[in-house]
Amino acid sequence: MTSIAEHLDPTGVALPTETMIINIGPVHPAMHGTVRILAALDGERIVDADVQPGYLHRGFEKECENVTWAQVFPFTDRLNYVSPILNNVGYAMAVEKLLGLKVPERAEYIRVVAGELARVGDHLTCLAAMGMELGAMTVFLYCIRARDRIYDRLEELTGARVTHAYCRIGGVKEDTPEGWAERVLGDFDEIRGALDDVERLLLKNRIFMDRTQGVGVVSREDAISWGWTGPCGRASGVDYDVRKDHPYGVYGRLDFDVPVMDTGDCYARFYVRLVEMHQSLRIIDQALAQMQPGPVLCEEHRVVLPPKREVYNTIEGMIRHFKLIVDGIRVPAGEAYAFIEGGNGELGFYVVSDGTGLPVKVRCRPPCFIIISHMGNMIRGHSVADIVPIFGSLNMIGGECDR
């Protein structure tokens, strides 16, 4: 990578052809709020770019060292805040691995259903923003309207529209409300309708194709060497999906396909996400059909909070509650890594415990930070206008990237 200073160097050329440095972001609408790109321009062409994330850094990992294991969940919500349930699940799985806990089957199914809903919401958001930034406002409205149905269902399930904190170590907070499964299935028509509309509006649209095809191409080799996973990796021909390759939860029992493309451009990344949403709906369909009634939290008294009826009326329940809240769940000393397919790829949590109620370390492998690391190389040589589809198709989520 050549340095920006090199381009700035006045080499004695008399004509005004020197490169110009401009700031894009961090408060530019197309930068999704929090990324700054320091670009050296030669006319419209980007000769060099320095992508600087970090404006949404909250110190997630440090925060986790000062709270109990259970109190980490709200922090994980704020990682990838368009699919918080997936973060919840990833973190819960890491701690459960350390505890050697078996999560009840129904909880696993609920995690799958809620997680796939969150994934659809995540992808819808990405497509909506990408479409809008390229001028397709209608696409934005259609996608967000469909996403709102998902938020409604997640609100019914968890009590919150965005930051759910729904998972618990050992299961999920509570069972699905009455008639919830039917309402989820009832939303499929609208979601599928929106997806079909988007497909018809954009996939054969000359302007959209010109703006995205052959733009921001990442080869399979580059994708692998930069550690790309998820939809972006699969758009470049990396056939890797954690749900398929390392099935966790009950994914082994569900039938779905993993779309892979090999052009590696913005169009492929858009298309892979579109197809994946159809697959997610397929998964939800099957999971809701297979789900059986049963407990949604495991029976381990030293991990799971007692029911409130016991807490308020018996000393045993009261003590359990107090010890679990004040001391925290005592997780055996050791370390564990659990990883799931997040909205943007392999979302991993590496946790270390010293046997007390406080985590020693909670490290998150954020897929989009790894994807964004390559972005400077991707936009080099393109025109300024191409930053928009390239950045949009990577779906950088500040909360997760900067933590």
Binding site: P306, I315, E316, M318, D327
Partner: protein
Amino acid sequence: MSADPTIKLTIDGREAQVAQGTNLIEAARSIGVEIPHFCYHPGLKVVAVCRQCLVEVRGWPKLVPGCQTLAQEGMEVLTSSERARDAQRQQLEFTLLNHPVDCPICDQVGECDLQRLYFDYDCMPTRHDLARLPGIKAHPIGPRITYDAERCILCWRCIRVCDEVAREHQLDLKERGMETVIATAPGAHLDNPYSLCTVDLCPVGALTETAFRFDTRVFKLTAVDSICPGCATGCHIELHSYGGVIRRTTPRYSAEVNRWWMCDDGRGEPRELQGSDRAGRGKVEGRPVSLEEACVAASELLSKHKADELILLVSAQLSTETLWAARALSEALGGVQVFGTARPDWQADGVLKSADRNPNSKGLELVFGGALAGAADLEQRLSSGTAKVAICLDEKTTNPALAESVEQVIALVHRDAGIAEWAKVSLPMAAWCEMDGSFVNKDGRVGRFHPAAPAPGEALPGWALLAKLAIGAGRPLDIGTRAEDIYAAASRALGEAVLPPGDFGPSRPPLLLRFANGRG
């Protein structure tokens, strides 16, 4: 425990070597195995009433209490076999039968043995839905202690503390069976000088310190190691603070000094210091000024007078480091005469309280040796009229004659009242619980204390103020800028046999009780 291990036994399959006469709880503890117990305490006689420490011994027909059973050669103890675990669990179930759902309003929460043992050894929901027996609540069993009979699990620890530590039989059991309560004799109170040790040892929230009741949740407290300044015994204590305020004082185990105990008077020491009249700013002729300004005024006074016109008053209440700085100052100013003062004696009680009410009399003696003049010399010097300026380091012990006989007084004070009101210059001084330092107790044992609360306003440790004065007077002291440096300097000068360099010890960071392994 004797240093001569003579008995070999196995506990949970692991070999342990212990001295003759060691019980199973201690034997297990020596290899890191916990046997749950309520009534047993290493400092008290064994009564084996709580039945919580039942363990299995292979080949013995019945389970035995670990507290009362002594280790024997070749014994095979199982502390967590099916039978032992069952007995421990059932015992907890019985103990909890009538326990009130009080945790949200109980002061013991966080350091409650019942909570901890239930969670670790039982943790099963209740199996009955009968009404719980009511009991006496919030009963002032003594002037400093509140008793709650519902929470009491009848371990008799409080009875034994009174009998064996305070040597006064003030508590006993009243009634029988389910109605048994801890009680004093009619008309009597739990008011012995060590009564608060019963609160320390109470495994539940049955006995609580009235002054600390509903003050702070225990798991929010931060503990620092300290030394009690109440008398020359120098009990090892812990100061527990929250929000920058010291909330309570508890004894800290020290095999040589105070074991597990301390007197009730000592616990009031930090409380005595609190109050709105703590000095946080300097004063010149009664007018509040910044510390800097007050130091300049004081230094000017010092540089204007010759050494024989100055006197320095130190006391056995000060830390060794402040005393060392005082000695350095007296030398730097050209040999100022130093007078030692002290709080008057009280009655020693043969348990922990010493007659000498000063924590650092030994330190004073070590630092100044024969150069120190006493109270009688002070009288003489004051009446001679040769003392023009006095530097006074302890308002508590100051001779009232000072005001009339000396022209100007530079006072290092804790409070704005008293000497600070008439002194020419007063400088705010941090108290022992707000600074790092050490006392030397009557046996010559160095005790290190740590800051438990921030000093008010601009207040600084005595040695830091003296160092500032010396700099202002153009005679800087070569003593270092931290308490450990000063201690090291004193130790080098006085001899390592007198002040062993290692005894100051490493700095211990404050400990949040919440995650301190079941302590908070």
